[in-house]
Symmetry: C2
Subunit: 314 residues, 2 copies
C-alpha cells in the first residue's frame, strides 16, 4: 500500500540494483530484515527484487519469498523489476503493488544488457501491459518502464534527448503508468537533466508519473536530483549507503546514496516521511552481510547539522 501526504517519494533500490551484480548471496532473512527496518524508518517505497531466471542472477532466487514478506508490511509500496512476461506473471502471483519493466533507450545497451532490440523489448512490454489489463480492478498492478541510458551509454556515448522523448512517447501511448528516467552510467549533467525532465513533465506529466533513477558514477548524482526536482520531478530512486557499483566502471560508485538524498530533500523543506536517525542504523545490515562492499555516504560520516532541520530560507 502507498503512504500518502508526503512531498517527495524516495524509493530504496538497494535490494535490486544494489545487490544484483554481487557474488555474495544475501540471506533471505537478512533481505527481509532490511526491508522491515527501512520501512520502519519511514521509507515509503522499495524495489525489493527482480523476477529473473535464477541461473542468470542467483541473487534473486528468493524473489518470491522476499516480495511476499515485503507485501505484508503496512504502508510500504512494493515494486519488483521484471525483464519479461514470465517475470511479470511471477510477480503478479505475489500480488505486488508495482511491476517495473526493464527497458533501455540505447539500442546497443538494450542488446548488450537485455539481449534484445528496443523493438523486441517494447513488444514484450505490450505483453506485460496486456497481462495488467486482463486483471480485474482490484488486482491490477501499477506498470512502470525504465528508460535506461537516458543520458548516455558506455557503448554509444551520448544519447540524444529526442531519442528519450520518442521512447517515452511510445510507452505512454502503450499505456505505461510511470516512466523512470535513468542515468545508468552517470553521464548526466544537471543542465541536461533539467531540460529533459522539464520537457518530459510538460509533455507527459498529466498522463503518467515521471521518476528519476540517477547513478553517482561521476559525482553528479545529487546535483542531478536537484535539477530534476526543480523541473518538477517528485520521485527518486537511491540505495542505502550507495550500494551497487557500476559493472562498466570498476571502483566507481553506483546508485546515489539514500541518506544524502533524504538530507537534500528534507533540507529543502520537503517531507519525505523518512526519519534519518532511524535510517542510518539500517546500514549495519549491509556491512554485516557484505563486509567487502564500501559504504558510501557523506551525511553519515559528518553527522546531523546542529539544529537540523532548519526552517528553510529564513
Amino acid at each position: 500500500m502507498a503512504k500518502t501526504e508526503i512531498d517527495v517519494i524516495c524509493r530504496e533500490v538497494g535490494l535490486r540494483d544494489g545487490i544484483q551484480s554481487l557474488k555474495t548471496f544475501v540471506p533471505t532473512a537478512e533481505k527481509i530484515s532490511w526491508i522491515r527496518q527501512e520501512a520502519a524508518a519511514g521509507m515509503p517505497n522499495m524495489q525489493v527484487c527482480s523476477f529473473v531466471p535464477p541461473k542468470l542472477l542467483p541473487q534473486f532466487s528468493d524473489a518470491a519469498e522476499v516480495a511476499t514478506a515485503a507485501m505484508a508490511i503496512d504502508d510500504l509500496w512494493v515494486s519488483t523489476l521484471v525483464p519479461n512476461l514470465k517475470g511479470a506473471e511471477a510477480a503478479l502471483k505475489i500480488g505486488v503493488d508495482e511491476i517495473d519493466f526493464m527497458n533501455s533507450v540505447s539500442e546497443s545497451h538494450s542488446l548488450s544488457n537485455g539481449r534484445r532490440s528496443t523493438d523486441q523489448a517494447f513488444a514484450e512490454f505490450e505483453r506485460v501491459r496486456d497481462l495488467r489489463d486482463a486483471q480485474p480492478e482490484g488486482k491490477r498492478f501499477k506498470l512502470a518502464a525504465g528508460m535506461a541510458t537516458s543520458f548516455g551509454c558506455s557503448i554509444e556515448g551520448h544519447v540524444p534527448q529526442k531519442n528519450v522523448l520518442k521512447a517515452v512517447e511510445r510507452f505512454v501511448n502503450a499505456g505505461v503508468d510511470e516512466v523512470m528516467i535513468a542515468d545508468t552510467v552517470g553521464y548526466g549533467n544537471p543542465r541536461d537533466v533539467h531540460q529533459l525532465f522539464s520537457q518530459i513533465i510538460a509533455e507527459f506529466g498529466d498522463t503518467v508519473l515521471v521518476g528519476a533513477h540517477f547513478h553517482d558514477t561521476r559525482g553528479l548524482g545529487l546535483a542531478n536530483v536537484y535539477a530534476a526536482l526543480e523541473a518538477g520531478c517528485r520521485r527518486f530512486d537511491a540505495s542505502l549507503a550507495g550500494l551497487g557499483g557500476c559493472p562498466f566502471a570498476p571502483n566507481a560508485t553506483g546508485n546515489i546514496v539514500m541518506e544524502d538524498l533524504v538530507f537534500l530533500l528534507e533540507g529543502a523543506g520537503l517531507d519525505t516521511g523518512i526519519d534519518l536517525a532511524k535510517l542510518l542504523p539500517v546500514r549495519e545490515i549491509i556491512s554485516r552481510n557484505l563486509p567487502e562492499e564500501p559504504l558510501h555516504g557523506t551525511y553519515e560520516k559528518a553527522g546531523t547539522p546542529k539544529g537540523f532541520p532548519f526552517a528553510p530560507a529564513a
Copy 2:
C-alpha cells in the same frame, strides 16, 4: 595575471584550505610543482597560501616563497589568504594579484576560529582596505572577503540569510572587490543556495564579484554548485582530490572535488579553460606527499564518458 575569455572561473584552494590543518609539512618545492602543473592544466586561479604566523600554522611558513614562485607563472591569477593587516603587508611585498580577507558571518565562529568578534574583524578589514587604497594604480591588489558559515555554523547551527546579506552589505559599502559566500561546514542546501545567491547577485552583483566556496561535508557540494550557477554565480572554489577534511567533522570530506566540479561545468557546456586529462595526473603530487590523506573524486575513478564533451542538450 588573469586568464580571459572563459565562462566560469574555478579556483584551486588545496594549497591553502586543503593543507592548512594537516600535520605533514608539504615541502616547498612540491607545493611549487603542484602550482606549476595545475596551472599548466589550465587552472586560471589558485589560492596558494595563507600569510599567518608560522607558530599558528607551520604549514605556511614558506608562504612568501610559494607566492613568489606562483606569481612567476603566466596566465595564473594568484590569491593568498590573510587574517589581518600584517598578513596583507607580507602579501603586498610579493605583489600578489589578490588578497582574501578571513571573515565569518557567525559571531561564534568568528570568535572561535579567528579569536575576534565580527566587529573586530571588520575593523581589521578596513585597515587592509586602506593599505590597498594607499597603493599607486599598478600596485593595487584585488581585495576579497570570505563570508564563512553563510549557511550554518557548528556552534550556532543555522545562520539566517538576512545575517549574510547584512554582512555582505557592510563589506560592499567598505569597498571590497569580491565576496566569497562560504558553506564552511556543509550546512547548505541547494534551494537555500539558489535563494541566497540570487539575492546577493541581484543586490550587489553590479558592484562586486560574487564567488562560492562550498564544502562537500554532507554530500551536497556539487548540487550547491549547480544551484549557485543557475543563480548566476561564475566563480567557484574547489580542491584537487577534495583535499582538506573538516576539523569539526572527523572523517568527513572537506572541499568539493575540483575534477568533479570541472566535469560538471564542462558538461554543462561552460568553458573553464581546464584540461581534465592534464588535471588528473596532478593528483599524484598529493598522494606522493600526503599518502595518509584520502583522495576523493568520483570522476577520476569512473573515467571519461565516451565521446565527452557532448554537445549540450542535443
